[in-house]
Structure formats: structure tokens, C-alpha cells
Amino acid sequence: MFSQETRDIITNGLWKQNPGLVQILGMCPLLAISSNVVNALSLGLATTLVMAIASGSVAVIRNIIPHEIRIPVFVLIIAALVTVVELAMHAWVHALYIVLGVFIPLITTNCIVLARVEAFASKRATGHSVLDATMMGLGLTGVLVTLGALREIVGKGTLLSGIDLALGPMAKDWVIPVIPDYHGLLIAILPPGAFIGLGLLIAWRNWMQERRAR
């Protein structure tokens, strides 16, 4: 159905070169935001959107960017895009902005965006660049959500807490109490919990990889 190249791009982003578990890129938001599922998913999707637009625009103009100054130009494009996305959200989807607002500027500092632009979009066709950025973004989102779910269950005993902030008050009942009467394990919510959780996820991925190789 897809060409070999397209398939490679998809499996690289989601598994083989997963930004969170293999390239270990974009750690700043990964560790800061993954304390619950809702935050993790929201920032993951926003990052994916910015990555797709950034890679697409760089791929379109890749031939007119002088090699020596490509990094400043990439940073400029990414920062400008993030700001435009932030302004647009602030103006037109205010409810979502209130939830994500503080995280959006963090996307600029996420090196996975710059990494995909530099490693892929500056050399390849526009369509493939957008696909690559989207898949890498979704790969990162997957890791974020898994880590967020782990930390939220262990730390608070719930899933989807705070969903009403993203989807409105009607979603208030969607919070799933996984472990009832749970008093919480603070370390899972605090930054060390993110490091421990990520370490476990990386170990799990390596173990899967080894088992498959055998």
C-alpha cells in the first residue's frame, strides 16, 4: 500500500528511532509535563503540530537556505511558528490555551523539533518531511502518554485527572479512579518519578528489541 520509504519513515518515528526512547531527545518537556495523561497528550499533540508545520516549511525552502546559517534560520522559523500558534490559540481557542498556554513556548526549546528539521526536512521532499515530523511527534506523544499514565496511576491512583480542563466541565466524570482510596506516592509525580519511569520504559524497549533479535 505504501512505498518502502514511507513505511520506513513511519516505523522509524513510532518505534525504531523513537525520539523519546531511542534518540532520547526532547527530555525537557517529557520530564516536566508527563505527570498526568491529559497534560502529556495535550503537549504531545501540540508538539506534533508544530513539528509538522516546521518541517514542512523548512522542506519547501530548503534550497534557498545557505548551509552556514541553516541553524539560526531553523530556530527562527520554529520560534516564529510556535509564537503564531500560541497567539492563534490564545485568540480563538481560549479554553485550550488556558490549559496548554504555559507549555506552548516550551516547544521552541524542544530539540526534537530542530533535530528533525536539521536531519530530515532540510534534505528531503516536503511530503516525506511532513510525514516524518508527524510520525516522530506521534512517537514522542506515545512515550509521553505512557509515562504520564504510569506516573499518574502510581502517584495519584487515577487516570485522566484534569480532563475537564481540556474538554470542559462535562468531562469531569471521566476521571478513572484506578486504585480507590489511594493515598498517592509523591515521588512518581515529582521529577525523579519521570526519570525512573523513563528509565523503565527505555529498558522495556531494549528488552523487546533484544527478544525480537533472538
Binding site: I33, S35, I64, I69, V84, H90, A91, I98, F103
Partner: protein
């Protein structure tokens, strides 16, 4: 090999061009979104201000009747802020002060402190902060009820040494792992109450001829015929505000 001046210049010009295009894009997006952002922020501000007051405690146009607050160490504001007087049937029932805690975990925390005319707190809300999401952000009413523990507190019912988080020997709760944030909010709220105590008359007495900053209609800016002898000055330094 040293690149020729021509090459250097053309590279620099290309970068400049990208900067100009980027700046143009940003100012375009700003111009396009600014009116919409302004409207939502105003509406949000009014909603937030009325949250710091009991429902039905005012019948005036809070935002329109706003009056300037000077820069004062007790309020922690870097730029002049605003105060919003709540009036019911022409009588001042409460005032909402803009204040800031300069010592949050990640910079300034901006607050609205609603104070009843008798000096009790009507409500406190956080309007802007940069605290760690998921950790220090429980000061937001949307995330946690923490901020409501200030309700009905006053300088009279809580002695100065009790205006601290429980961990430091005070009366206010905080969450483990994020103490710097509530510490800053408690301190700023306490100071705002002190500011209110020092300038109570001037803050509540709308007849004092202070210019309003809302709709600058003539009658609003005209000096009033109110009882001027009761008008304190907002700008006079108060002798008891020792921690400036």
C-alpha cells in the same frame, strides 16, 4: 579558505531577510489576533474579579470604575496596578486590589485580592504565574481549592506570625514538594491586607476625586463633592509599612 566578502555579505543579507520575514509574520499574527485576545482577556478579567467577591455584592461596572494603584512595596507591583471598588446601591462594600508576589518559584505570581470593607478577605485569585505545571500550579482555582483558605481571613483574626505556611509555623496549608509557591502567595496576600489597612479610606471612598481609568468620561474625572476630609492619600508612605 576564507570566504570572500561578497559571500559573507550575501549570507548575512539572507539571514537578515529571514529575520525581516519572521518579524513581519509575527507582527501580522499579533495584529490579527490582538483584538480577539484583548476581548477574551477583558472578559476573563471581569470573571476573575467577580470571583474574588461574594455573588451579588456589587452592582457597579467593576472594570469601568477601576482606579489606579501606585507602585508600592506592599503590593509588589512593578508597574502601577488597578483597584476595583465593588459598590452596592452607591455604597462601597469591598475592594479588589491587584498585587504580585515577586518571589514565586519561577518568577512573579500576579494576584487579585478582594477585601471586604471590614478588612476580611473576600477572595484571592491568581491571574498569572509561571510555576511548574502539575506541581506548583495548585494555587490556581481551576486546579485546586487551596486558594480559598484565605477567605474570611483578616489581620485581626490571624496574627502577623501566623501568616505563613504550616511548615513554617503558620496557619496556611501547602503541598509537599511545592512550598516556595504557597509561601510567596501567603506573603503577598498578607502584604496586600497591610496595604489595605494603611489606605482603607482612600481605597473605599470613591468620592475622593481620584481619576478612574475606565471609560474616561468627564463626570468620572471631575473632582467630586464628596467628603474630602475622609480621603487618605494612596501615595503617602505609611509609617507601619516597615518591610519596604
Amino acid at each position: 579558505m576564507i570566504p570572500s566578502i561578497r559571500e559573507t555579505l550575501s549570507t548575512a543579507l539572507t539571514l537578515l531577510l529571514f529575520c525581516v520575514v519572521g518579524a513581519g509574520l509575527l507582527s501580522g499574527a499579533y495584529t490579527l489576533t490582538h483584538p480577539a485576545i484583548e476581548i477574551t482577556e477583558q472578559a476573563e478579567k471581569l470573571a476573575l474579579i467577580s470571583q474574588t467577591l461574594p455573588p451579588g455584592s456589587f452592582d457597579n461596572d467593576l472594570v469601568g470604575d477601576a482606579r489606579p494603584l501606585p507602585v508600592n512595596a506592599l503590593l509588589g507591583l512593578k508597574r502601577p496596578g488597578l483597584s476595583y471598588v465593588a459598590q452596592k446601591e452607591g455604597k462601597s462594600t469591598a475592594v479588589v486590589l491587584e498585587a504580585a508576589a515577586p518571589d514565586g518559584y519561577a518568577g512573579e505570581i500576579r494576584l487579585l485580592v478582594g477585601i471586604h470593607a471590614d478588612g476580611r478577605i473576600a477572595g484571592v485569585r491568581v491571574t498569572a504565574h509561571h510555576e511548574t505545571p502539575g506541581l506548583g500550579d495548585y494555587i490556581e482555582i481551576a486546579k485546586n481549592k487551596w486558594i480559598t483558605q484565605f477567605d474570611a481571613r483578616s489581620l485581626a483574626d490571624t496574627p502577623a506570625d501566623q501568616w505563613q505556611v504550616r511548615k513554617d509555623g503558620g496557619r496556611f496549608d501547602s503541598m509537599a514538594g511545592a512550598t516556595i509557591t504557597p509561601r510567596a502567595v501567603v506573603k503577598a496576600t498578607h502584604k496586600a491586607l497591610q496595604y489595605f489597612a494603611a489606605h482603607q479610606e482612600a481605597l473605599l471612598n470613591v468620592g475622593c476625586g481620584y481619576r478612574t481609568v475606565g471609560a474616561s468620561s468627564e463626570e468620572r474625572t471631575a473632582p467630586s463633592t464628596g467628603d474630602h476630609s475622609r480621603c487618605g492619600s494612596l501615595r503617602s508612605p505609611h509609617p507601619t509599612s516597615g518591610d519596604q
